[in-house]
């Protein structure tokens, strides 16, 4: 069961257009929003692709289309060599175990009325992987693996800080031992010092479990740190793709350059020097 050769995920010419409709009694399609407009990339097993772009660039829509959470307009998504674009929900179900998602907002993505143990156990229960004392044991091990304690099992999400909640989200995503993890802005809602903890945790988990990541963020600094390759997205298209250091150090696309130039340098002298020669 190692189809697809070296690449776990291959996305080719992925397109997602949303119709713009107008009309009183009958909706007529008057235009289209080209949210994702012909995107291609592949991720080798155990590697990380960083997808960078500003709000509205289509990066989140691309993630959802890859996971078949929304139906792509056209294009191919191959997971372990098998075409998954266009599969029905029922057909996707067994594959869902192998591809999981971590969301941006750890406050909104956890059900406030469920205990942490239940939240992390849910995917295991739904896929009939474990039950009873085995379930509890596995969940406790997961919580400990992401840096929480077993005694957090019976607490509610509101009792945790933002960083801890993101750890819970990671534990839930890892419960089914997925091969691919898509992380959509997993650290952008967190304080800088906590961001480093979560980035390091994701790094460690990848080394240990051989995970493959699609890491989506607008902060190119964080993306560069965690990614092997980076794809820069703007207006639904990938404008530049290459190794992380190459894209950050020798960008060729004007948009990538603009994005890099806007990142604040946390060094007053360099920041002053950079501002001097631009009197415009």
């Amino acid at each position: 069961m190692n189809g697809g050769g070296e690449n776990l995920l291959e996305v080719t010419d992925l397109v997602k257009h949303f119709p713009v409709k107008r009309g009183v009694l009958v909706d007529r399609e008057v235009d289209q929003v080209r949210a994702v407009d012909g995107v291609s990339f592949s991720i080798p097993r155990g590697k990380t692709l960083g997808l960078v772009g500003e709000s509205g660039s289509g990066k989140s829509t691309a993630c959802r289309a890859v996971l078949q959470l929304i139906k792509p307009t056209s294009g191919s998504v191959r997971f372990e060599g098998e075409e998954i674009a266009g599969l029905s929900r029922r057909q996707m179900r067994p594959l869902r175990r192998q591809m999981q998602m971590i969301f941006q907002d750890p406050y909104a993505s956890l059900n406030p009325r469920k205990r942490i143990g239940q939240i992390v156990a849910d995917p295991l229960r739904r896929q009939n992987v474990a039950s009873g004392s085995d379930l509890r044991r596995r969940v406790t091990a997961l919580l400990e693996r992401v840096g929480l304690a077993g005694e957090h099992y019976d607490r509610f999400p509101h009792e945790f800080s933002g960083g801890q909640r993101q750890r819970i989200g990671i534990a839930r995503a890892l419960a089914l031992e997925p091969k691919l993890v898509i992380a959509d802005e997993p650290v952008s809602a967190l304080d800088v010092s906590i961001q480093a903890q979560i980035v390091n945790l994701l790094d460690d988990l990848q080394d240990e479990l051989g995970l493959t990541y699609l890491f989506v963020a607008h902060d190119i600094g964080v993306v560069r740190h965690i990614s092997d390759r980076i794809a820069v997205m703007n207006e639904g298209k990938i404008v530049e793709q290459g190794s992380a250091d190459q894209v950050c150090e020798h960008p060729t696309d004007p948009y990538t350059k603009k994005l890099l130039a806007a990142v604040p340098i946390p060094d007053p002298r360099e920041s002053r020097a950079r501002r001097e020669p631009t009197p415009s």
Partner: protein, 345 residues
């Protein structure tokens, strides 16, 4: 440099009575702010940076809050000023810009009308037409294109960056002397963030505004601030000039903040130096230095909180709360050649 301070905050204490006991959100903050200066207040969520700003604006008054110390604007005490006086002062002398411009405007009124209303509430003699002309002028000055037409737009018709410009325009409407910006760029894309920071900097220079910038991002601080206040668990743990904080940081928490930044201008480290653990609950502060449980350099003395003092002979205004000697600090703050908190595991 150094005319009379416009705003002086001395020994500010803000506590809130909660079901779990007294929560000391701000514990002894001191600073002075002069016209044309940008002071950055840096810290994690819950460090007390926003409560400090809100208290200066008189927004934390309530039956469950305990506020002590002094906040003086041009020699006038604000903590004991009446509600009517504070209402007049807010907007006219001190104005505030918030993180999320979407929730700060009323979505069902046109932007221009909301700012006209603010102007006329303070200056009832201004005619509607004059106030509107003023708003167009303000929109123009903060870089909103086609100002004449866009004053009649609703908030949802503006992009995030433009909304933040509109909010800055509203803050400037009554020509305040002090501008408090609470995470003004956190919700924005980096390219837009860069534009807003330039705008704040220009306004600061052109209007000689005294600015307080609240942020958790030291990258933003490096771009605009003159002086920096680092807060942790309600206390100022270090304060100094921008260069002192970045090039000669004295408190381990500051090292941790500096170390955990990702930097595009340097080779990437194998691991990001991190600050382990989480900030303490303000209801269950550890004994002694609040940073002690997360600090790899803690020792016997740390069970007592050191005062905020200048510990370097040649920098009398660079203060910190850490018992280590300056020599020890210079040695301990390096992680793989960079400033950081601890050697990666």
């Amino acid at each position: 440099m150094s005319p009379e301070p416009l705003l002086s905050v001395s020994d500010l204490q803000v506590g809130f009575a909660t079901e779990g006991g007294l929560l000391q959100a701000v514990d002894g903050v001191n600073f002075e702010l002069r016209p044309g200066e940008v002071l950055a207040i840096v810290g994690e969520s819950g460090s007390g940076k926003s409560v400090t700003a809100q208290t200066i604006m008189g927004l934390t008054r309530g039956h469950n809050s305990r506020i002590e110390g002094s906040v003086q604007l041009d020699g006038e005490e604000l903590l004991t000023a009446g509600d009517a006086a504070m209402r007049k002062l807010r907007g006219e002398r001190i104005a505030m810009v918030f993180q999320d411009p979407m929730t700060s405007f009323n979505p069902v009124y046109r932007l221009g009308a909301q700012i006209v209303e603010a102007i006329r509430a303070h200056r009832p003699d201004t005619s509607k037409a004059d106030a509107r002309a003023r708003v167009v002028e303000l929109f123009d000055s903060v870089g909103i294109p086609e100002a004449e037409r866009r004053v009649d737009d609703y908030p949802h018709e503006f992009s995030g960056g433009m909304r933040q410009r509109a909010m800055i325009a509203m803050a400037l409407a009554l020509e305040p002397e002090v501008l408090i910006a609470d995470e003004p760029t956190t919700a924005l894309d980096v390219t837009i963030q860069a534009q807003i920071l330039r705008l704040l900097e220009d306004l600061n220079r052109e209007r000689n505004l005294a600015t307080i910038l609240i942020t958790h991002d030291l990258g933003v601080v490096a771009e605009v601030a003159d002086r920096v206040l680092v807060m942790y668990a309600g206390k100022v743990v270090e304060q100094g000039t921008l260069d002192e904080i970045f090039y000669d940081p004295q408190h381990p928490y500051t090292w941790g903040l500096l170390g955990s930044l990702t930097r595009l201008d340097r080779p990437r480290p194998k691991r990001l130096p991190q600050i382990s653990g989480a900030p303490p609950s303000l209801l269950e502060l550890p004994e002694g230095c609040p940073f002690r449980p997360r600090c790899p350099h803690e020792f016997s003395k740390c069970t007592q909180v050191p005062g905020l003092e200048a510990r370097l002979p040649d920098a009398p205004k660079h203060c910190d709360r850490c018992w280590l000697t300056p020599e020890q600090k210079r040695e301990k703050r390096h992680v793989e050649g960079q400033i950081g908190l601890e050697a990666p595991a």
